[in-house]
Symmetry: C2
Subunit: 215 residues, 2 copies
């Protein structure tokens, strides 16, 4: 069942399903159908079933899914049935805010330090995260087995940071700087350009375009 090619959008949706299922668990809801999941996250029943079908049979015909079981299964698929050790680079406003972003911690992303090149910031503590000098990046990542990094430095410093990161054992990078980072193939990079989202909204408002979920 695995190792056909999985659409990337399927992965995004699985993450959404899991987030929704976690909410249901918190509300003690035990059972759910593909249709209800679809309504909950803004998808379609066919997509929900097809997305899941890439990875196995998780439901009972005529009945639906057991919320907790399905959520565990999806978390295992995504690889978030454990903690991911994460660091932030860039102790500006956005970086500082993300240290306390509840969604990260809730889903197992544990941010243990922020790195910054500004000597005035180094040595301070933001939300229990020490701000460390950028020179210690390499040893810190190795000593603490950090796997993921979040880049929140300005655009003109981001490529330099990416270069430094590529020399460490980092596995994945979430980049908030609005540039295309050049990195070795084996490092997974996703760039999130917040402004693009507003620009897309502007376009749709201007043109009265009808749009479904996920971009």
């Amino acid at each position: 069942m695995l190792d056909q090619k999985i659409p990337l959008v399927t992965i995004y949706r699985l993450a959404s399903y899991s987030g929704y299922l976690s909410d249901l668990e918190a509300n003690h809801i035990k059972h759910i159908s593909s249709r209800e999941i679809a309504v909950g996250v803004g998808s379609t029943p066919a997509k929900v079933r097809k997305d899941l079908s890439y990875f196995g049979d998780f439901g009972k015909r005529g009945v639906g899914y057991v919320v907790s079981e399905l959520n565990i299964a999806i978390k295992r698929i995504l690889g978030i049935n454990r903690t991911w050790k994460t660091i932030l680079i860039g102790a500006g406003n956005l970086g500082s805010a993300l240290t306390s972003y509840a969604g990260f911690k809730n889903r197992g992303y544990e941010i243990s330090a922020i790195f910054d090149s500004n000597p005035k910031k180094v040595g301070t503590v933001v939300n229990h995260c020490p701000v460390l000098p950028i020179d210690e990046l390499d040893t810190y990542i190795k000593d603490n087995e950090i796997e993921l990094a979040i880049i929140t430095v300005p655009a003109d410093a981001a490529q330099e940071v990416a270069h430094r990161l590529s020399a460490t054992g980092i596995k994945g990078i979430l980049n908030f700087a609005p540039i295309k980072l050049e990195l070795p193939e084996h490092i997974v990079v996703r760039t999130l350009e917040l402004t693009r989202e507003l620009e897309v909204i502007s376009f749709i408002v201007n043109h009265g375009m009808q749009v479904d979920e996920h971009a």
Copy 2:
């Protein structure tokens, strides 16, 4: 040329192209080809040309594009050849950080106020933005002709905020709360779930999947 159906991904890419062209302008680069744009943003020459072809002829055959002209054209298409009056709702860490996010101001998104329900925050000023009580939301939006709102309140408060917004003349909402907002059709909503991006990275790291740009 217009009013065929435009793929949503095309709009995202146009926004990227424009961002890249703005960088080129800052570096006094005058001319560019579809191939160079593609390399700059992580797309393909064919996509660049096809994306533009939905809206008109902007290049010269055998030559390429004039950077400044193309950028103006794209901005006009996106509807960002002007200022968009914007407010933030939720004066937490993320909301406060976004008031000083350079990318927004650079691209014409002018955040003039933050709204919050916490009386201790109301009356303070964050990055030149006054923090106002949530009860003034409706009149403020009408009096100041606000068009866009950015929601950075916790998930359990977001739907209530969305409901309040729907009673105003707001046109578009960028939502950072990880829930599906129920809103009238005529309001454009995009939800950005930061955690989903990390989860997708986790999946790809786990499975060694090969992935191209944009999701």
